[in-house]
C-alpha cells in the first residue's frame, strides 16, 4: 500500500507531524523535538524508497483523488526530482539532528514547539514543490514555503531578524505575485496547468499569442529569480540568512533558495521548448546576471566582518553558479547545476551549522574572533574547513565535481569565457574562506574560550555531512549515471524541435 502511494504520503508526513506537534506540543515540550526528529527521519527514509523505486521502475506518476490530468493534480518523480528530494529530506534531517540539543538554548522556549512545526511545514512544502507536476499546486506550496521560511527567520522575535523577515516576506510576495500572474497567463493561452499538457499546447499558443507567451515567460522567470536571489534581486538574502537562528540559516541557505531553482528547471526545460528559448535574449541575460552574481557576491563576502553575513553573501555567489549551469543550455552544465544544488546544500548547511556552534560557544560572531577555535573545538572547525575547501573547489571534495561539470558544460556550449569566470571566482572564494581556516587552526585565540562539550547529535550530523562531501566528491559517477538519462531526455525532447 505504501509503495503505490509513496509520493503523497511523503509530502503529507511532515505536514501531519507539524499539526501533531501543535496539538500535543504545548503540553509536552520535550515531545516536540522527538516528533520532529522521527518525522524528518521517516521522511528521509521514504524519500530513499522513492529514489529506489525511481531507479528501478523509471518515472513515477500519481493522480490525486484518482483524477487524471489535465483535470486533476499530478505528482511526478523522475531521477532529477528524486535526487532533489533526497537532498532536501536528507539535509533537513541532519539539521534537525544537529539542533536536537542545541535548539532549546537558542530559541525562546515559548515558541520552540511552533518552531519545529514551522520547520516541518517548510519541509513538506519543499517536497511538494519538487514533486508537483501542476503549476498552481506548485504555487501554493511556494507560498507555504515562503511564509514558513520568513517565520523561521523571525521566530525569536529579535529586532534585526524581524526586520530581515519582513523584507524577505515583501520581496518574496512580489516574486510570487509575479509568478502567479505568469501562471494565469499560461492558463489563459493554453487552458492547462499540468506541465506536460502545457508543454504540448505551448507551440500552438505561441503561434496565436506570441506576445502573451513571451510576457508570461518573462514574469515567471523574474518572479522565480527574485525568490531564488539571483543577482541583482538578492538584496533580501544576506539580512534574512545572516540574522536567522543557526538551524534556520542552514536550511534557508541550503535548501529554500534551491527549491526555486527546481521550479525554474521544470519551467525552462520541461514546459518551454528549448529551440524557442534559444531565440530569446534569455540565455544572455541569465548568464550575465549569474556571472555578476558570482563576482559581486564573492566581493561582498570578502568585505564582511560578520561571519554569518559572509556565508550569506557566499550563497548569492553560489546561486550564480547554479544559474550559470542552467543558462548554458548544455547537458554537462545542467548536470553540473543539479550537482551543485546538492553540493551547495550540503556544504552551506555544514558551514552554517559549524559556524553557529562556534558562535554559540565563543559568544562572538566576527571573523577575527574565530581564530584558534579549531584547537578547542576540532569537529566544528574541521567541518567548517571541509566545507570551505569544497566551496573553493579542491579536488577530492564534492564542490570540485560540480565546478568541473560546469566547466565541461561551458566547453560543450562553446562559451569559453565562463571557464575564466569559474577559475577567477574559485580564487575569490579562496580569498575569503582560507584565512578563516588557517586562523582557526594555527593562530592564537583572541578571546578567552571556555570549553563546552559538543552534543552528540551535533557531532554525528557534522561528521555525516563531512562524509557526504567526501563521498560525493570521490564517487560522483554514481549520481551522474543516475541523472544522465533524464538530463539527456530533457535535451532530446526539445532539441528535436517542435
Amino acid at each position: 500500500m505504501i509503495r503505490a502511494h509513496i509520493m503523497p504520503l511523503t509530502v503529507l508526513l511532515p505536514l501531519v507531524g507539524a499539526y501533531f506537534i501543535l496539538l500535543v506540543g504545548s503540553k509536552h515540550r520535550s515531545l516536540a523535538r522527538n516528533v520532529a526528529l522521527v518525522t524528518t527521519g521517516a521522511t528521509f527514509a521514504m524519500v530513499c524508497f522513492i529514489t529506489y523505486l525511481v531507479s528501478n521502475q523509471g518515472t513515477l506518476f500519481y493522480h490525486l483523488g484518482g483524477w487524471a490530468p489535465p483535470l486533476g493534480i499530478e505528482l511526478q518523480a523522475d531521477p532529477i526530482t528524486a535526487f532533489l528530494l533526497l537532498t532536501f529530506a536528507g539535509v533537513s534531517f541532519f539539521v534537525i539532528l544537529f539542533a536536537y540539543d542545541i535548539l532549546p538554548d537558542e530559541i525562546n522556549s515559548k515558541v520552540i514547539t511552533r518552531y519545529y512545526a514551522l520547520y516541518l511545514v517548510l519541509l513538506g512544502a519543499l517536497l511538494g514543490i519538487v514533486l508537483s507536476n501542476d503549476f498552481f499546486n506548485m504555487y501554493v506550496f511556494l507560498e507555504i514555503s515562503s511564509i514558513a521560511a520568513a517565520a523561521l527567520v523571525a521566530v525569536n522575535g529579535d529586532k534585526l531578524a524581524m526586520e530581515a523577515s519582513i523584507k524577505y516576506l515583501v520581496m518574496s510576495t512580489l516574486g510570487s505575485g509575479t509568478v502567479l500572474m505568469g501562471i494565469a497567463g499560461l492558463y489563459m493561452v493554453t487552458g492547462y496547468l499540468n506541465l506536460d499538457y502545457l508543454a504540448g499546447a505551448l507551440p500552438q499558443a505561441y503561434a496565436s499569442y506570441p506576445l502573451t507567451v513571451l510576457m508570461t515567460l518573462a514574469m515567471l522567470t523574474v518572479g522565480i529569480a527574485v525568490k531564488a536571489a539571483l543577482f541583482p534581486l538578492h538584496v533580501w538574502l544576506p539580512d534574512a540568512h545572516g540574522s536567522a537562528p543557526t538551524s534556520s540559516s542552514a536550511i534557508l541557505s541550503g535548501l529554500v533558495v534551491k527549491v526555486y531553482i527546481a521550479v525554474l528547471l521544470k519551467l525552462l526545460y520541461r514546459v518551454f521548448p528549448l529551440d524557442f528559448l534559444t531565440t530569446l535574449p534569455l540565455q544572455g541575460s541569465l548568464l550575465v546576471m549569474a556571472t555578476l552574481g558570482i563576482f559581486i557576491g564573492s566581493i561582498m563576502a570578502i568585505r564582511q566582518k560578520d561571519i554569518k553575513k559572509m556565508l550569506a553573501y557566499s550563497t548569492v555567489a553560489q546561486i550564480g553558479y547554479v544559474f550559470l549551469g542552467i543558462g548554458l543550455f548544455s547537458e554537462k552544465a545542467m548536470t553540473g547545476a543539479i550537482l551543485h544544488v546538492f553540493n551547495h546544500a550540503v556544504m552551506k548547511s555544514m558551514l552554517f551549522l559549524s559556524v553557529g556552534l562556534l558562535i554559540k560557544y565563543s559568544g562572538k560572531r566576527t571573523i577575527a574572533d574565530l581564530a584558534g577555535l579549531g584547537r578547542v573545538y576540532p569537529i566544528p572547525m574541521i567541518a567548517f574547513s571541509v566545507g570551505a575547501l569544497s566551496m573553493v573547489g579542491i579536488p577530492p571534495l564534492s564542490g570540485f565535481i560540480s565546478k568541473w561539470y560546469l566547466g565541461l558544460g561551458a566547453l560543450e556550449a562553446n562559451h569559453l569565457p565562463f571557464l575564466l569566470v569559474l577559475l577567477l571566482s574559485s580564487l575569490l572564494n579562496g580569498f575569503y574562506y582560507m584565512p578563516i581556516v588557517i586562523a582557526g587552526f594555527f593562530k592564537k585565540e583572541t578571546v578567552e574560550i571556555q570549553t563546552h562539550k559538543v552534543p552528540m547529535g551535533a557531532q554525528i550530523s557534522l561528521i555525516v555531512l563531512i562524509g557526504a562531501t567526501f563521498f560525493f566528491g570521490l564517487f560522483s559517477n554514481i549520481v551522474v549515471d543516475f541523472l544522465a538519462p533524464t538530463v539527456q531526455g530533457l535535451f532530446e525532447v526539445f532539441g528535436g524541435g517542435i
Binding site: 502511494h5 505536514l15 501543535l22 496539538l23 500519481y62 490525486l64 484518482g66
Partner: protein
C-alpha cells in the same frame, strides 16, 4: 470604547451570522460557498463579539489554546479523510473511486466526502482567523 448601540446590534446579529456561516459550510457542495467562506463568516461573528464587548471578557471568548486544538484537529481531519481514500483501495483524497456514495445531486447528503472536507476546512479556517485576530489584538493590548 463600550457603546450600547454597538453591543445591542452585535447581540442581535451574532446568532444569524453564525447560522449563515454554518449554512455556507454545510451547503458548500450544492451551492456557492464552502469551508473557507463559511469559516470566515463564523470567525467574523466571534470577532464582532470581541470588538463589541472588549477582549477582556474571557467568558464567551474562544480561548487561544482551544482555538489551536480545533485548528490542528481540522487539518488532521482533512488528511484523515484523504487517507481514508487510500485505505479503501483508491488514491489519496479519492471520493467516488474509493466507494463513497455520491447520492442525488442537489440533496444535502450528496457529494461523498466533500461535506466532511468542507466541515473540517470550516473548523480550521474559523479557528485560524480567530487566533490571528486575537494574537494581533492582544499584542496591542500588551503594549499599552
Amino acid at each position: 470604547m463600550r457603546d450600547i448601540i454597538v453591543q445591542v446590534v452585535a447581540r442581535m446579529m451574532i446568532p444569524y451570522l453564525q447560522l449563515y456561516g454554518l449554512y455556507i459550510i454545510l451547503f458548500g457542495h450544492n451551492s456557492p460557498g464552502g469551508g473557507f467562506a463559511g469559516g470566515t463568516v463564523i470567525a467574523s461573528s466571534l470577532i464582532l463579539y470581541v470588538l463589541a464587548f472588549g477582549i477582556d471578557d474571557e467568558d464567551l471568548r474562544l480561548s487561544g489554546s482551544v482555538a489551536r486544538v480545533i485548528e490542528s484537529c481540522g487539518a488532521l481531519a482533512y488528511v484523515g479523510i484523504g487517507l481514508a481514500g487510500i485505505f479503501l483501495g483508491a488514491n489519496f483524497l479519492s471520493n467516488k473511486g474509493a466507494g463513497f456514495p455520491l447520492g442525488i445531486p442537489g440533496r444535502f447528503l450528496s457529494g461523498g466526502t466533500i461535506v466532511l472536507l468542507t466541515i473540517s476546512i470550516g473548523l480550521k479556517v474559523a479557528s485560524t482567523m480567530i487566533t490571528l485576530f486575537t494574537n494581533l489584538a492582544e499584542k496591542e493590548k500588551e503594549e499599552e
